[in-house]
Symmetry: C2
Amino acid sequence: MALIQPRTLKGFRDYLPEAMMPREWIIDVARRVYRSYGFRPIDTPALEYLEILTGKGSDETDKQLYRFEDHGGRAVGLRFDLTVPLARFVAQHQQQLGLPFKRYHIATVWRGENTQTGRYREFMQCDFDTIGVTDLTADVEMALVVNDLFLALGVEDFTIRVNHRGVLGGMLEKLGLADRSAAVLRAVDKLAKIGRQGVAEELSRAAGATPAQADDVLALASIAGDNEQTLAALKPLVAGNATGECGVEELADLVAAVAAAGVPATRVKLDPSIARGLDYYTGVVVETQLNELPTIGSVASGGRYDNLAGLYTNQKLPGVGASLGLDRLLAALEQLGRLPAAKTPAPVLLCMFDGPRRNDYLKLAARLRAAGVGVELYPEPKKLGKQLQYADRQGFRAALVLGDAEFAAGQCQVKDLQSGASATVPYNGGDAGAIAAEVRRLLEQ
Amino acid sequence: MALIQPRTLKGFRDYLPEAMMPREWIIDVARRVYRSYGFRPIDTPALEYLEILTGKGSDETDKQLYRFEDHGGRAVGLRFDLTVPLARFVAQHQQQLGLPFKRYHIATVWRGENTQTGRYREFMQCDFDTIGVTDLTADVEMALVVNDLFLALGVEDFTIRVNHRGVLGGMLEKLGLADRSAAVLRAVDKLAKIGRQGVAEELSRAAGATPAQADDVLALASIAGDNEQTLAALKPLVAGNATGECGVEELADLVAAVAAAGVPATRVKLDPSIARGLDYYTGVVVETQLNELPTIGSVASGGRYDNLAGLYTNQKLPGVGASLGLDRLLAALEQLGRLPAAKTPAPVLLCMFDGPRRNDYLKLAARLRAAGVGVELYPEPKKLGKQLQYADRQGFRAALVLGDAEFAAGQCQVKDLQSGASATVPYNGGDAGAIAAEVRRLLEQ
């Protein structure tokens, strides 16, 4: 019989253990932080009715949707984000969930994107949201969660950039450009890429802005300085417009609140040039930048929205939430050398010398695990050199060597696989405490 | 615009937080135990080339496969188990992985099953396998992992039933029925359901067994007693046949090995009636039964196989592994009242009285989290009664109450939401240690 070629689909990838271990670590940290704020886990099906998925999607997401007919002839699709499923979920289970509803959802999504751009067609999202609350407290907590998350990942040099859609919206109302806000936002979003002149031209061409209007928009988007200076510069631009004034006030309150919660003032930075989520966000918006790698873009982004589930329910559900850019963050932490050192799930390899002694090895491994030390027992007797080669290749921290001589002497060799040094520790087939202590000493080095 | 009805597809379900929390807990425990033995995490795409998925599948899985054409016109399908992806994965990455290769894989699979049977079309599998090892050590570890897993889940009264495909195989060789082993296994598998007479009839009808042959097969499948008695009864039935003798010897070695590793003798039970995995398993097979709920069937099953990836590579890859029945186990633990008591990810609700004091609440919450206590801050000022109602409904363990009076007095009320009792603890806006200590006291009760 001819062999089938083992291969993955274009745009999809396997995660080998060395890629999966840091991935699981980041997800664990995110979950721990989300939970410490009371966000609750949910999950939804990968497959949804097509009408649910296409209801809100843009033309672009519609085109990227994996869709087909299921066995019952239903038109179905694979979810392309976790926001549409959240909206459907909240609308469907509203009664049972109650409000406020805080959830996190860490799950896979699929988009048939053009892989030429280096993007994958299957990736994981790590979202958290607070639904049913208009109070700014929830917006502040969004920033605090992001702050705690990066600290828990061992990253300290990052900036949470904050803006408010009401600020630009208010100014556009003042300028009489409110009906062209989407085009204005699209243009402003390109400031870093195409510069002031380019944005001015696009504002004129796509939003019909006069040169004076374009100047005002650019003045807003170019405001720089510390948070106090930014607030001072924003106030006159929105003065007299309720939307804009309210936006600036919320930004001022947010800055004070995150400081009260202990976040250094330089880490949360007002940035009027941020304009993410064209038609979705309505209030505070945040992006997060790793200062050592600013070019990779935002690694955690989110904001406030007015109406989560308008397609599925008449109840207006405001909310605020953000999403961790898992793949981007993983690549960044790898580049910065910030991924955890552990390369093996269990730090210790117990070498196996001697078939008839199998049960002695199984017993020692069990005792070490009971003492809290993860142990992989090499699963067959083989030359020690081969086993140490395996230990080295896999990246174990320590190897335990017990041959006939060691068993006879009531000893175990604990090899430090980083330094190459070896310690001799008593083990007589009973208590494995001395070995566990020596391994712990190595792990703490 | 007409609303879209928010609903899930037939056979699919949402996980609300109360269902998701125990699910995450079991998965966490499984991962911790798998890792303590050195099993490494991997992940593979949900979508695979159809030819990969249909290569090995039976007619039944083929029929249940979710299949469609992707954007590039490729025939693709959603994985229906984690074994076929593992085989493809190992064949594809063999060079990089090396052998032995120990992996765990916790991921969703899809089968368009008939939902009349109460089964879902999307469910999670939690597999672990050791590839590239023929030594019995790996088989023993499979049983030890299952043992540790249930103990870590707080279950002590379970039985790991063990059989060996070589035992029945050897006897069938002796009887001259080796070419009809699949039909024999199918018949024996029904022993509990249709009884001895039923099995005897099926053995005659479907496997062409003589009454004497059927008697021998039934004698084997009906062996009972402790492990020593079972081994003694098996030996004569396979005597003179190498396959059968080797199977019995491996069972004897396995029983001795798990005992050496500290597992009580009654927990691992030889059971010659187990005949799972008709054409897949080739050596040791295990099933796990919760003794308090024997009727729900096996909650962790697995075994040894000779050739994992024969469809994709000419290299013979033997292995051994098992799978945790997550959904079945969840249902069982719920029925037994063994799920963790915690209903909220953060144990404490901090009530918010007073808008202008928002920053004081944010500060207190931050300090408690820094002290290791998870805190959900009620995200808007509301009547205390409403907030306590929320706390009750969600199942928080404690609520913190600080109104103007408490702030003025430098105090915080810590309400025990189980007993209704309340303790007054000092808090002056600084160190939150006294509150953290009181909460910890409640959590340890």
